[in-house]
């Protein structure tokens, strides 16, 4: 089957999981509201109300307004944070993982291994605290709040009510509109949260990639490539990398939900205005409907990420397709 067939198949498989998530969320609604009416009827009407757009209101001490507005405001920030973290995880993780495997058992390799182990084991908020202490308190370079100073936003035409246009992501919009001061500030306030989020997973990727690389480099077709006289660099680039990426990718698939959890924690610690922050604030203020809607959003994010990962798999590995 070709790639497009595979993608379609994958999307179809994702539907039951999505339905399951919506069912679960709705079950919780049902419990909150008291178990009166017919479950299926209520489920159906709730689903249709989802698709028609929400007008329910939410009322927390930092945000008041409609939930759909909240989602437009917060979701892009969360996506921006995740993507930034993912980029960090990918580039730093793969580089150090390959490096570590090539210079196996050297001093640097051992340092990387040890550091990765501790970074991976410690809970996320500890790393965040450490980073805040180092960069925010002592070195005083980076802001330890994810929010932008509202004074900066005065007089800016493309920003209103907390939402920036057109992409709703402050950093990108600032760049689009050429306002580099705002862009730089946005970048700085993105930096610490993204690094704290990414660190544990970089460590995980390094550990997985290192092990994977070591076992791939042992394989016969690598010897065959050497037998063809290819340089080490060529062998790693063309053969080893591709074959070694599976283990970290699987690991990543299992830890996506961990990444999203971490996202919630990081956003709360740094007051970064994203979905996770919205979620915790809603809970603390007992805005149950907002909570459940956010849960749904997270479920969708997760399923999309898994689908993307599977497609990535299929692109790299022809064995899946044929």
């Amino acid at each position: 089957m070709s790639l497009s067939h595979y993608i379609i198949r994958r999307l179809i498989i994702a539907i039951p999981t999505l339905i399951g998530i919506t069912l679960f969320v709705f079950l919780l609604y049902y419990i909150i509201g008291g178990l009166h009416s017919n479950f299926l009827l209520a489920y159906g009407s709730w689903l249709s109300s989802l698709f028609s757009g929400k007008s329910q209101l939410v009322n927390t001490n930092v945000y008041k307004g409609s939930i759909s507005n909240a989602i437009t405001m917060f979701l892009p920030n969360t996506l921006m944070l995740s993507i930034f973290a993912a980029v960090l995880i990918w580039f730093i993780g793969t580089f150090l993982g390959v490096f570590s495997a090539r210079h196996k058992d050297s001093a640097i390799d051992l340092t990387i291994k040890a550091t990765s182990f501790y970074l991976y084991a410690a809970p996320i908020f500890i790393l965040a605290i450490v980073l805040i202490i180092i960069f925010g308190v002592y070195l005083k370079i980076l802001p330890f709040s994810g929010e932008i100073n509202p004074l900066l936003m005065v007089g800016v035409t493309w920003f209103s009510d907390g939402i920036s246009y057109p992409t709703h992501v402050l950093l990108i919009d600032a760049l689009i509109h050429g306002n580099f001061v705002i862009a730089w500030n946005a970048f700085l306030s993105l930096l610490l949260p993204a690094i704290s989020l990414a660190l544990a997973f970089i460590a995980g990727v390094i550990i997985m990639l290192r092990n994977s690389m070591i076992s791939v480099l042992d394989k016969n077709f690598i010897s065959a490539a050497k037998g063809k006289g290819l340089s080490d660099k060529q062998i790693i680039k063309v053969h080893a990398r591709r074959n070694a990426i599976f283990q970290p990718a699987t690991f990543f698939a299992y830890t996506i939900s961990g990444l999203l959890s971490g996202e919630v924690v990081i956003e709360t610690i740094f007051n970064y205005p994203g979905m996770g922050y919205f979620l915790t604030q809603s809970l603390i203020n007992n805005q149950l409907i907002a909570v459940l809607d956010s849960v749904l959003i997270f479920g969708i994010i997760f399923v999309s990420a898994t689908i993307l990962l599977d497609i990535f798999y299929a692109v790299i590995d022809p064995r899946v397709r044929f």
Binding site: L230, V238, H239, D317
Partner: protein, 377 residues
């Protein structure tokens, strides 16, 4: 052609060492290979044949050590003292490593292994894996092929085909040498040498060579390729051109072997063991090496594929300046293809000499057993 010693091995000793024991695999092996010669290396399983091949290629596993001896290829010494300390060694390593081979692998000397499936990258198509060594070592050859095809004069080409139709083979050969450069010649000859095409097909294919032209953009990129490789969009076009030529070249080799070019874009998991073996052979010969080591190439092949393989080897030997080291445990196979035979038992050479001498008058008991053990049809 002057006869030269291409490979000379003296007193090679290799051991396998693990944490608990140490085994001598090669106990002082002497070996030599001259130009245009096929030497067969024969012995039962476990006698050290494969280890010998791996040592020559510098592909020994980590727990194997070259203890002593000398290897010289094309007159140059290969072995040097190993200076790197392994992480688990208490004292420094006294072994030798085959460092010199690194520059020769893939160009001067290539190897075909026993079991092809695990020696191919499962994620890349076989066509790429065939032309990979040409792409890496000899990109120029691909470029020159493209350029000379682009510059072909169709009139000259049709004159050549007329000579072929008239069965004036001598005249055709002369014409070929006089009018075409080696890159075109190579492409024409690879069509002619194929067994699986009719004369008519061959003529059409030759004429078709003159009809593939580049557009001016592609020509520009090729003539300025050092610059183009640095610009993202252009480098991709350059890569595409090179890959296409690579597939073409790989297809020619496969055609020479009597195989269909449809397998080029397939992946190893889609092909049978025999096909994969053929792919390995193709990748070994594509870069025109001087020496090819074949480690039991026929063991996973059916009789027809075996026949095809050795037929091909003969063809190559005739047309290229090639020496072969054939490793097998079936001595009669070697009797048909090898000029000399070296018999190895338990890591040491017990008998060596001309093929016919060894087969007909084996002096050693072990050799006698090998000869006797083959069932005569």
């Amino acid at each position: 052609m002057e006869k030269k010693e291409l490979v000379k091995v003296k007193n090679l000793k290799v051991v396998f060492e693990s944490r608990f024991d140490r085994r001598e695999i090669l106990r002082g092996v002497d070996f030599s290979l001259n130009t245009n010669e096929t030497v067969g290396l024969v012995g039962v399983n476990g006698s050290g044949k494969s280890t010998f091949a791996m040592t020559l290629m510098g592909l020994l596993p980590k727990n194997a050590k070259i203890v002593s001896g000398s290897i010289s290829i094309d007159g140059m010494d290969m072995l040097v003292k190993s200076v790197k300390r392994g992480p688990y060694d208490r004292k420094s390593d006294d072994a030798l490593i085959n460092k010199g081979i690194e520059k020769l692998r893939g160009r001067f000397i290539t190897m075909v292994t026993q079991e092809a499936a695990s020696y191919l990258d499962p994620l890349l198509n076989v066509g790429y894996q065939i032309f990979e060594s040409v792409l890496f070592h000899d990109e120029d050859r691909l470029i020159k092929r493209i350029e000379s095809r682009d510059a072909l004069n169709n009139d000259i080409l049709s004159k050549y085909v007329k000579l072929l139709t008239a069965k004036d083979y001598n005249g055709a050969d002369k014409f070929l040498d006089e009018n075409f450069n080696i890159y075109v010649k190579e492409q024409i000859l690879s069509i002619i040498r194929r067994d699986d095409l009719t004369d008519e097909d061959k003529k059409n294919l030759i004429l078709a060579l003159g009809r593939t032209r580049l557009n001016s953009f592609q020509r520009f990129i090729i003539s300025n390729r050092s610059l183009a490789s640095k610009i993202p969009g252009f480098s991709r076009i350059l890569k595409r051109l090179l890959y296409e030529e690579g597939y073409r070249l790989a297809g020619e080799i496969l055609g020479l072997m009597g195989l269909d070019t449809s397998i080029l874009r397939m992946f190893p998991n889609q092909l049978s063991g025999g096909m994969l073996q053929a792919v390995m052979v193709a990748s070994a010969i594509i870069n025109n090496p001087r020496v090819i080591i074949m480690d039991e190439p026929a063991s996973s092949l059916d009789p027809i594929a075996q026949y095809r393989l050795f037929n091909l080897l003969n063809k190559i030997k005739k047309n290229f300046d090639l020496s072969l080291i054939l490793i097998a445990h079936d001595i009669t196979l070697l009797s048909r293809f090898a000029d000399r035979i070296v018999v190895i038992e338990d890591g040491a050479v017990v008998e060596a000499g001309d093929a016919s001498d060894i087969i007909n008058n084996p002096s050693n008991e072990y050799t006698k057993n090998l000869v006797r053990s083959v069932i005569k049809i």
